[in-house]
Every structure is written in C-alpha cells, then in structure tokens.
C-alpha cells in the first residue's frame, strides 16, 4: 500500500517534471517571440509615425475635418492613431504566434477562430466608433437645445440620449460579432422598451403639470402675455 502511494507520487512528480521540461522551453520561446514582437512593434510604430509626419497627414486630416471627429471622440490625432494601431496589431500577431508555440490543446483552434472573426470584429469596432461619435454629437445637441430653451434637467436629457445611442451601438456591435445574439436582442428590447415606458409614465403621471405646460407651449393658441415679453428683441 505504502509502496503504491510512493510509486504514484513518484510517477506524478516525474510526469510534472517532464511536462515542465517540455513546457518551460516553449514558454521561454513564447516570451522571446513576444519580446521580439514588442521591439519590432515599437520600431514599426516609430517608423510609421515618422513617415506620416513627413507626409503631413495630420494637416490633411485637419483640413478634411477628420481630426475634428477624432477630437470629439477623445481620440488622438490620425498619425498617432494609425501608428498605435500598427503597434498593437503587430504585437498581437507575435503574441498569437507565441501562444501557438505552447501547443495547448484547444487554444490553437480558438486562435484560428479569432483570425476568422477578425473582419466581423473590425466592423463591430467601426460600429462602436460611429455610435460613440453619434452619441456624443446628439447628446451635445440635446444639451444645447435644452439649456437654451430653459428646460429643467438638461443633463438628464443629454445623458439619456447618449445612453440610448451607445446601448444601440453596443448591441449592434455584439450582433455583428455574433455574441449571444438572441440574448443581446432580447436584452436590448427589454431595456429600451422599459426605458420608454418609464419615461412615458414619469412624464404623464409624475409630471402632469410639466406635460400640460409643454403641450400648451407647442399647441396652445394663445401664449401667456408674460411669456411674450420675456426677453428684449435681439434684432
């Protein structure tokens, strides 16, 4: 009994040592590949940045209005964005090659799936980017309109619009990459429907007076005389 246990432990120890002996060199190779990839990615990043600065791409981007869009989305300049993208793509490719060296069962299949998903992922990123821009633009437009019209809680209007557009963009992006498709659609429908219902109930019941005032403002035939003389004529 005792011998069997000792033999089992020895066997497990030997297996582990063998595995470590096989795995460690691969891990070292992966780390070396990752490190080399990092150096190459850095080199490519600086090289591309220098080339783009020579071509004055930023100036062109400024003139075409693309820089403005990037600034609105709190993103760096087009030169910086492209060089950073090249860095991450290069390093990611080296890391994936390094991971494949580890020969972990199932992981290689996942990596090949990841490469197949890449076009959908890129489209999803584009959808998110456009959603981000649209969310910022429309929420700012709503904020300005609400502030200048003297509505109460302008930040709430603005934030709600940004939230709805972002949720829409995120659900579309997830739909694009095929992640939990049914769940995403159902979740979005529930959240959106609930939000609209909540707003309608809140406006109709909680804000009866506000609802009346708003409807009067838009459809009332006779405006309050006091409102007519609110501000001096600008022109």
């Amino acid at each position: 009994m005792k011998d069997m246990i000792i033999r089992g432990l020895q066997q497990a120890y030997e297996n582990m040592v063998n595995m470590m002996a096989e795995f460690l060199p691969r891990l070292v190779v992966m780390l070396i590949i990752g490190l080399v990839g990092l150096l190459i990615a850095f080199a490519l990043k600086y090289l591309l940045r220098a080339i783009l600065q020579l071509t004055r791409l930023d100036r062109l981007s400024e003139e075409s209005g693309a820089s403005r869009i990037l600034r609105h989305a709190a993103l760096p300049s087009i030169t910086e964005l492209l060089s950073r993208s090249l860095f991450w793509l290069t390093w990611l490719a080296f890391i994936l090659v390094g991971i494949s060296v580890l020969r972990i069962a199932g992981l290689q299949e996942q990596i090949s799936h990841l490469f197949q998903l890449l076009p959908q992922v890129l489209i999803a990123i584009l959808i998110l980017f456009v959603g981000l821009l649209a969310g910022n633009f429309f929420s700012r437009a709503a904020l300005l309109t609400a502030v200048n019209a003297g509505y109460r809680s302008p930040q709430l209007w603005s934030g709600s619009i940004r939230f709805v557009i972002w949720i829409l963009a995120i659900s579309m992006a997830l739909e694009q990459v095929g992640l939990a498709r049914q769940t995403v659609i159902t979740a979005f429908s529930i959240v959106f429907g609930a939000l609209m219902l909540a707003l309608a109930i809140a406006f109709g019941l909680g804000g009866q007076e506000l609802a009346r005032q708003t409807l009067d403002r838009y459809f009332g035939e006779k405006k309050n005389e006091r409102e007519k003389e609110q501000e001096p004529s600008p022109l």
Binding site: R71, R226, E231, P234
Partner: protein, 428 residues
C-alpha cells in the same frame, strides 16, 4: 430651366424666365420675399409703386415677388394689388410700365434661395439698383423705398443699409455683437447688419451671386447679413439711410434669440474666416456715410423678464461647462463662472470680458474645436448674461447714455483686436 450661377448649379423655372424676358432690361428692381403674407403684401406693392411714381418716373422698373410656398394666395394678392395713380409733387405719374413678376423659390424653399432668385433676376434684367422690402413692414412708406434705392441708383453706393428709430432695449444682438465686432474687424460700422429692408447695386448683386457660399447654413438662414458683411469686407461703397420708426416685434421668445444668434453670428464668423486675408491687414475703423440721423433711441417703458434671463444665463454656464472649457481660455471661463455666481442685483458682465469671450469664440470657430453650429449655440447663455448685465446697468439710462455705452464697447473691440489675431494664429 436655365443654369444661372457658374459656381454651383442654380436653376430658374422656364415660366419665370419667360416673364423676365417679357420685361426686358430694367433700371430698378424691388424684391419682396413672401410666405403667407396675403393680407399685407398689397400695401407693400402700393408703397413701392408710389415710390416709383414719385421718385423714379423715368426709370424702367419691376417689382418681383419670390414666394417661399405660401398657402394663402400671396402671389395672387401680389398681382391683384391696386395700381396706385398718385402723382409726384410735380404732378407727374410714372412714364413707364411698372412690371410685376411673381415666382416661387427655384430650389428648396429658404430665405437664401429666395434672395438668390432675386439676385439672379436682377442680374438677368441688368437692374442698376435693387431693394429688398419686407411684406409685413407696417411702417413702410414710399419715402423709405426711395431712400433705399436712391443711393445705389444715383450716387454709386453699392450697399444701402437702413437705420431705424428703435426702442433702447431692442436690437441688442446688433448693438452688443454684430455692429461693434464687425466694425472692429472689417473697419466699417454698419449698425443694422441684419435688416429686412436694404438696397444694393448690380455690382454687389453680381459679386454675391458668383460666390461659393450659397449652401452654407448661415447664408441660407440670413442672406442679408451675409451680403452686408460681404459689402463691408470687400471694399464696396456702403452707406446707411434713416428710415424712421422700426415696428417693434410682437414677441421675442427664447427660440427667437437662439435662431437669431445661430443665423447672424454664424454669418459673421463665417465671413471673418473667409475674409481673413483682407481684415488681418487692416487697422482702425472708418465711418460709413449716413443719410439722416445716425441713431435714434426711444425709451417708452417696456416689460422685460430679467429674472428668467439670469436663470438661463446661470443654468447655461453650469450646464455647458464642458463645452465652454473647450472653447474658452481657462481665465475667461473662470471669470464667466464668477459672474454667474454673483448676486443677481450685482451681476456685471464687463465689456472687456464680453469682448475677450467673443474673440475666443471666433478663434474657436476658426480652429473648429467643436461642431460649429454647437459652438455658436453655446454662446446664447453668455449673450443672455451680457444682456442681463446691460439691462441692470441701464435700466434708467437715457438714450444718450446707452449710445455712449455702445461706442465704448466698439472701442473695446477695436482695442482688443490684437488679441483676436493672437488667438486666430495660435494653432497655425
């Protein structure tokens, strides 16, 4: 259909062209843009015809109505207005036929489209002088119309701006922003940059017709401001002529202020940008020849809700903090926040802060730090703050004191002009 402008496609309807051809060449053209003005347009036509008979009996004349899609038979009312048979002080009636033409906007209905149609018609008819008249101006007289046409027709002026007798608290956007800022930058001061009545020569009309900016939102919304700015920035001969009392607007809600700021300030900023080569070289300002009184303010009591203005200024400054941070320098932004936090009875939006704010807005517009329409909308709460401060300070001031205040503001704009240049060139 005929393509009129070479820079951007612009079409005139065949029927309209036929009407123009039947008229032939003219000396004077008066345009009336309209939208559901059936009840008032007849009076405008009568006044114009009287002006022709009294002051221009030997000239070939035409009245042009460009309708923006009325549903109340405005065009029919225009054509059926009674022909006036009054003679001039010397007993003469017009020796020429007074033609009337009506058309609808050729492209999508808009103020810019209507105005462009008028310019195209004036160009085709080779009109020497033109005037645009509002169909709703109840104080319009034949003398007013003659006053707008005469300088362009007889004295070689290219742009004739109106001057009005106004209430001291009316036209505040013009007095606190459009007039002083355009005077400081372009070196010529026209008090009524935005006006529904004005005159111009064929030279200026053709110049505007051949410009590229017709699709700009600012031009579409406020083409008259754009033309006035084009005239002062491009060295056309400008003058101002006094027309008498301006009808007080019936209502001025918050939306009107936003629309007025969006249209007119956008036109001013757009012109500052497009004419930067011209104004950067200029210094000082020169007076524009004025026929009649230079300014005339009245001071009958009016009711103004200052409390609401202050509330909207404060809520704007707090609600738009992130946007204002992007546009303004930290010092200016902090100063505005300090003003907004003041006790309501002591709020003072000083001329120096106002000028600095506007120059920073203009530079931010030039550098496109934000969507341009959003940027101009962000100015509205600050304008309200400035006006609140003005109303507080000048509640009991005489017209002379208010005029002196306007002149002080103009000089402040001129004094700080180098600051605009500095900010303008900051990122170049």
């Amino acid at each position: 259909m005929a393509v009129i402008s070479s820079t951007e496609d612009f079409l005139l309807a065949d029927d309209f062209l036929r009407q123009l051809m039947s008229v032939g060449e003219v000396d004077l053209l008066v345009g009336i843009p309209s939208l559901n003005n059936a009840t008032t347009i007849s009076r405008a036509v009568e006044m114009i015809e009287q002006a022709f008979q009294e002051s221009f009996p030997r000239d070939r004349v035409v009245i042009l109505n460009v309708d923006d899609g009325s549903r109340d038979s405005t065009s029919e009312a225009f054509l059926s207005a009674m022909l006036s048979k009054n003679s001039n002080p010397w007993g003469l009636t017009s020796l020429r036929t007074i033609h009337r033409i009506t058309t609808s906007c050729s492209n999508a209905p808009s103020q810019g489209g209507a105005f462009r149609t008028m310019l195209a018609a004036a160009d085709l008819l080779r009109a020497k002088a033109c005037a645009v008249i509002s169909p709703v101006a109840s104080n319009l007289t034949p003398a007013c119309i003659s006053a707008l046409l005469y300088p362009a027709a007889r004295e070689n002026f290219d742009y004739v701006a109106p001057l009005y007798r106004r209430h001291r608290f009316d036209g505040l956007l013009a007095r606190h922003l459009l007039y002083p800022m355009s005077r400081a930058i372009f070196g010529k001061g026209i008090r009524e940059l935005h006006s529904e009545e004005f005159g111009f020569s064929c030279r200026l009309g053709s110049h505007c017709l051949n410009q590229n900016g017709w699709r700009d939102e600012a031009v579409q919304f406020s083409p008259e401001t754009w033309m006035a700015l084009g005239a002062i920035s491009s060295d056309f001969r400008c003058c101002q002529t006094f027309l008498g009392q301006k009808t007080r607007p019936v209502t001025s809600s918050g939306t009107d202020i936003v629309a007025a700021v969006r249209g007119n300030v956008a036109a001013l900023f757009s012109c500052i940008e497009s004419q930067q080569v011209v104004w950067m070289e200029r210094t000082g300002s020169e007076p524009v020849p004025t026929i009649g009184s230079d300014h005339d303010l009245t001071s009958e009591p009016v009711r103004v809700n200052r409390k609401r203005m202050l509330e909207m200024f404060r809520s704007g400054v707090s609600g738009l903090t992130t946007i204002l941070e992007t546009i303004l320098e930290p010092g200016t932004h902090a100063e505005i926040q300090r003003i907004a936090a003041m006790d309501g009875r002591r709020v003072t939006f000083a001329a120096e802060v106002w000028v600095r704010t506007l120059y920073e807005f203009a530079a931010a517009y030039h550098h496109s730090v934000l969507n341009r329409d959003h940027l101009i909308q962000a100015l509205v709460p600050l304008y309200r703050g400035r006006i609140y401060s003005f109303l507080l300070e000048h509640h009991d001031s005489s017209p002379e004191e208010i005029e002196a205040d306007t002149e002080t503001l103009c000089l402040e704009f001129e004094h700080r002009r180098p600051y605009l240049l500095e900010k303008w060139k900051a990122r170049e």
